[in-house]
Symmetry: D2
Subunit: 351 residues, 4 copies
Amino acid sequence: MHFASDNWAGAHPNIVRGLAEAAEGHAPAYGASELDKKVEHSFGEIFERDVAVFFVGTGTAANSLALASYSRPGGQIFCHPEAHVNMDECNAPEFFSGGAKLVPVAGSQGRMAPDALAAAIARFPPDVVHGGQPVAVTITQATEAGTVYSLDQIGAIGEVAHKAGLPLHMDGARFANALATLGATPAEMTWKRGVDILSFGGTKNGCWCAEALVLFDPGRAREMHYLRKRSAQLFSKSRFIAAQFDAYLRDGLWLELARHANAMASKLAAGLASTRGARLAWPTGSNEVFAILNNAKLRALRDQGAIFYDWPATAAIRDELAADETMIRLVTSYATTAREVDGFLSICTAE
Amino acid sequence: MHFASDNWAGAHPNIVRGLAEAAEGHAPAYGASELDKKVEHSFGEIFERDVAVFFVGTGTAANSLALASYSRPGGQIFCHPEAHVNMDECNAPEFFSGGAKLVPVAGSQGRMAPDALAAAIARFPPDVVHGGQPVAVTITQATEAGTVYSLDQIGAIGEVAHKAGLPLHMDGARFANALATLGATPAEMTWKRGVDILSFGGTKNGCWCAEALVLFDPGRAREMHYLRKRSAQLFSKSRFIAAQFDAYLRDGLWLELARHANAMASKLAAGLASTRGARLAWPTGSNEVFAILNNAKLRALRDQGAIFYDWPATAAIRDELAADETMIRLVTSYATTAREVDGFLSICTAE
Amino acid sequence: MHFASDNWAGAHPNIVRGLAEAAEGHAPAYGASELDKKVEHSFGEIFERDVAVFFVGTGTAANSLALASYSRPGGQIFCHPEAHVNMDECNAPEFFSGGAKLVPVAGSQGRMAPDALAAAIARFPPDVVHGGQPVAVTITQATEAGTVYSLDQIGAIGEVAHKAGLPLHMDGARFANALATLGATPAEMTWKRGVDILSFGGTKNGCWCAEALVLFDPGRAREMHYLRKRSAQLFSKSRFIAAQFDAYLRDGLWLELARHANAMASKLAAGLASTRGARLAWPTGSNEVFAILNNAKLRALRDQGAIFYDWPATAAIRDELAADETMIRLVTSYATTAREVDGFLSICTAE
Amino acid sequence: MHFASDNWAGAHPNIVRGLAEAAEGHAPAYGASELDKKVEHSFGEIFERDVAVFFVGTGTAANSLALASYSRPGGQIFCHPEAHVNMDECNAPEFFSGGAKLVPVAGSQGRMAPDALAAAIARFPPDVVHGGQPVAVTITQATEAGTVYSLDQIGAIGEVAHKAGLPLHMDGARFANALATLGATPAEMTWKRGVDILSFGGTKNGCWCAEALVLFDPGRAREMHYLRKRSAQLFSKSRFIAAQFDAYLRDGLWLELARHANAMASKLAAGLASTRGARLAWPTGSNEVFAILNNAKLRALRDQGAIFYDWPATAAIRDELAADETMIRLVTSYATTAREVDGFLSICTAE
C-alpha cells in the first residue's frame, strides 16, 4: 500500500522497452539525434504550435531554468506560498537566477488568487530600485494541494501577469494528471491561457527520468541552450530521455497513466469521504489526496503496511483539527492498484 | 564506422537489463532506497575505504560540484589548458562556484606538469587579496589528449597540491579506461596518490546516464547534499542511476568494457602508425586516438561512412602539420567492433 | 522642514574637517595605512574586545557581506518581514550569498519575536535537504519601525539563534541612535547579547559615506578580506572612510549626534501625540517617528514646505485608519533643528 | 619619494573643498539631487552626447558592472592577459556576471592585438554550446603597462568587436592620463572609436573616491539601476561622489592633474633612460614608468626612502634581465613633486 509519493514508483514497462530499443546503435550526442528531433516534433504536435523543447534531469532544473531565463537583477518572482519552487527546491531557483526572490502570493487550496497577484505586483512600482523588479509569475498545475486550476483560473492569472509585462511559467510536474482532470488539450491548458514556458514532467507519471522545458516562444531557445549547458543539464546521451518521452507520448500512454492514477485517487477520496473518523481536507483534483484521519486509524494503517506521509496542515485546516487528528497526504501513481486502495480503505473502515 | 565519440553509443545490454529489473515495485525516493545504499557500499568496496557517493546527471555536474564544494571567494582553480572543465563546460564550474577562475597550467600531451603547477600556485601569495586565493587543483584521467597520468605522476601533482593546502580533484569521465591502461586499483589511482574527490563517469563506458561524485572525505558529505540539491542534481527516482551502476560494477563489467574500448583504440593506433600518410599525434593511452592524416585519406574515409571529428591541433603539432594534413580524433567505446576498426584501416591503407 | 530621511542630510563639519586633514601626504592603500589601523583599534576599544573591522561603501554591502559570509548552499536567513535586507536591498543579500532565501519571521513593531523565530527555524529539520538549511538570523537595531530592541530582547533572539547553531547579525544602520536610546554600551548591545557580526553605520548619522562590518570573531577575517574584494567593496584610498570614522568616534561625536537626532524625534513625537487629528502609530524609540495624520493636515504641511514620505501601513495599523487618514514617516538627523520641528508642529496644530 | 601607486596620494584641495561645500543642507538621496543631475549633465557635455552615468565606489565595481551588464550564460570576455580585470580584481567580474570567463588575448606592452582578438573570438563558433559564447571585449586605457592605445588602435579593436556583435568596454582607471597623452577629446577616445561603455576613474587622479560608469547607450540605463543596487553600489548620500566629480571636472582640473602626473612620469623616464645601470622596460605613455634597474641602485633608493614596487617581468623582459637586475614600477600622481623626482634620479645617478 504505497501512497508516499508517485516518485516511489519505478518505470512503466513501455518506458523500459523504449530505452531498450534505443540502446543499440550510434547517434549524435547532446540532443542532435533523430530520436531527439522526433520527440521535439511530437511536442509541437501535442501543443499545436512551434515549441522549443529542452530535456533536463529534474523538475527542479526545469523550474529553475525557466525562471532564471526570465530573471533580471533584483528579480521578484511571484508564486503560491506552498509552491514547490518556494518550499522544496533548496533555493535552486534563487541560485540559477543569481539571486531572484520568490514572493509568496496567497490563495486557497494551493491556487494563487489573481487579485492577490495584482496587488503583490503593484508593490513594486517601476523605477523604485530598492525593492527590485517583477520578472515572472509561476503556478503549479496540478497544484501542491492536489487541486487543479480551471482553464479560466489559469487565464485570469495569465492576464494579470501579461498586463504587468510578466511571463507566466507553469510547473507541470503533474501536468498529465491535471490535463486528465480537466479533459482539456495541452494547448488549452497552456499557451492559449497565457502560459509562456512550461516544466513538463514525465518522471512522476511512469518515466525513470524525463523532464522537459517547453518554450512557447522558440525565439528564446538560443539563450536557453547556453543556460542549460552552463547549469550542467545538457545530457550527452540525450537519447535516454528522448526514448522515454517517445514511449510516454506514443498512443496516449501518458494520459492513460495519468487517468489511472487520478482514478485511484478518486477512489481513495470517495472511500475516505464516506468513512467515519476520516474526511478530506479539500476536494481531490488530481492524484494527490489530502485527508484528515483519526490518529488511531493512522496507527492501524501503518501497522498493516500502508506507507504515506503526515502533512503540515495549513492554518485554515489547523483550526479544524481535533486533538487526535492528523492531516496526511496520499499519492497515487500509474503503478497504484485498486487492490492497494481497497486494502487501505478496509483498514480505515474497520473499527 | 563510429569514431565520433564514446557518447554516441547507446547502452550496454546489462545496463538495460538492470534498469528493467529495478523498474518494478516501489522504493524510497531521493537516494534512500536499498539499491542506492547497495551501490554506495559497492563504491566503498571498490575504493577500499569509506566514501560518500553522490549520483548526478552529467560529468559537468560532477566536476562543477566537486570544484564548487572546495571553492571560496576569489577562488583560483588550477587545471590543464585543454581540461574539459576549462574548454567544454560553458562556464559551469565558474557558475557553480560563484565565480571561481580556472587557471591554466601547462604540460605536454594533456598532462599538467608538477613544476608548472607549483609555479602557478606561487603566483598567489597568502593575504594578497587582489589576485584571489588558490582553492583546488583538478586533473583529468584519462586526459583530454587520450593519454593517462602514471601513478607517480598523479602522486607528484597530489604532493604539490597538498603542500599548498589544496585538494586534488580528478575528472574521471574515462576513469575505467585509464584504470584498465594502468592495471592499477581504483584506490591506487586516487586517494593513495592524493586525490580527494573524484568525478566517476559511467556514461561514456556503456551506461545511459550514470555519473557519480566520490568523496574520499565523507565528512564533507553533509554540505554536498545541499549543494547537489541546490544545483538541481538530486534525482527523485535516484534508483535509475543506482540500477545502472549496480549492473556496471557487477562482475567487473565496467573494466571489461573499458578494456575492450582500449583494445579497439590500440588496434586503430597500431594500424595508423604503420600506414603511409598517417601517423599518431602522440601515443595512445586510453580509448582516444589523435592522429594526423592526409586530407585525401580523410575524404575517402568520410565518403565511405566513417564518422569522426577534426580536432584543433596544439601549437606543437601545428608546426609539424603539412599543408595537406589534418589532425583528427578517433574515439572507441564498448560498442566499437573490430570490424569497424578493420574497415577504417583498410580505407586508410588503400591507395 | 526636512523629515524625508536621515540620508538627505550632508556631512557634519567634523567629518569634513577629518577628510581635509587626511587629504595631504601619502599612505599605503587598501586599508594598510596608519589611520586605518588606528580606527580599527578604536573599534576594539569601543567594543571592549578584539574585533576585525572592514570598511565598505553602503549599508547594503555590510549586510550582504555579513550574511554571505555565513551562508551555505540552500541557506535560509531569518529576518523580520519589514527588514531592510528583505524589502529594500534589491536582492543584494540573495546575490552576495549565491541564492540564500530570506525567511520572514513575524513580530510586532519591527521586532522579531523569539518564539516565532524558534518555530521558523524548526521548519527546517537537519538533513531534510529539500527545504534548505538555516544559516543565520538577522535583526535591525534600531528597527525599521523606529523602535529598539531592549538588551533582553536581543539576548533572547541571540539565545534562540545560538541554540540552533546560527550566528546573529545586527544591521546597525542606526546603531548609534539605538545605543543612545538604551543608554547601553556597544558591547552590551552586541556580543554580550549574542551578536556575532555587526553592520555599523555612520552615514545616516553625519558621515558622508562610512559603513563598517564588525566581526566579533576575528578568526573569520581572512575569508572576509577575499569576500569584500570579490564584491568590489575594497576601497583603494580606504583612508577616506577611516578619516570619517576617526572624526566620528572621537570624543563621542557619534553619540552626541545620535542623541540630538533622537531628541528631535522625541520632540516631534510628543508634539504629535498631543495634537488633535494626529497620533503615533507606535512609540518612538530612535530617530524615526511613524504617525497617523489627517490628510488635510498632510496637505497643509506639504504646502508649507515640509518634506516626508507616506509610509505603507502594516495590516494592524490599516484596520485603525480612518478614510481620511494616512500613515507617514518622519526622520530626524544630526542636522535637524528644533526650529524645523517647531515649524512642523505649529502647522499641525493650526486649524 | 612616493612612487608606489597613485592611490597612495590623498585628495586634491579642490576635491576637499567641493565636499565641504556640499556638506550643508539637505538633498534627495540615491542620486536624485540637483548636484547629481548637474554632474551627469557635465559628463554629457564632456562626451558630446547623451550618456547615462552611474557613480560607484571602486574601479573594480565599475568594471564588473560594465561586464556583467553585457554578460550572458557561458559568457566569454576578451581581455589582455595583464588586464586589471583579469589579474587584480579577485574574480569580481566573474562573480558579478554569474560566472563569465575572462579569455586572455595577447598583445605587446599591455595592448591587445586586433588580429589576436579576432582569432580568439573565432574559437567560439555560434551555436556550439560547450565552449560558451563571446559577450564582450575590454581594454584598459591607459594600459596596465603604462602605455596608451592610439585612437587608431582603439578603433581597430572596436571594429573587430562590433563585427562579432560584441560591445567594447574601456577600463579608464587612468582615463585622464591617457587623454592627456593623446591630446584627444573624450569623445574621440571612446564612442567615436567604438567604445560602448566606460569605467571613468577619478580616484587615482586626485579624488577621494569617485568612479563612474558611463553608458554611451542610455537605453541600457534602466537595467543598470537594478544591477548597481543589487551589487550594493548605490550610495545613499550619492552627493559625496557628485561633489568630487563636480570639482574634478570644473575648469579642466582633471586634465591639469593628469598632465602634471604625466609630466612627472616623463621626467622620471627621461632621467632613467639616460642613467647608467637603468633603462626603461618600454616607452612611458602615461603616469606609470616601468624600468629595469641594477639591484644595488634599488637598495640605495630604498635605503634613502624611495617607495615603489618590484614588478613581475613579462616573459619578453625576463629574457633580457641580467642576474643583478630587477624590473620595477614607478607611479606618479597629481601630488608628485619635481623635487621627489629629482631626488630619485640623483640617487640613481650617484655611483
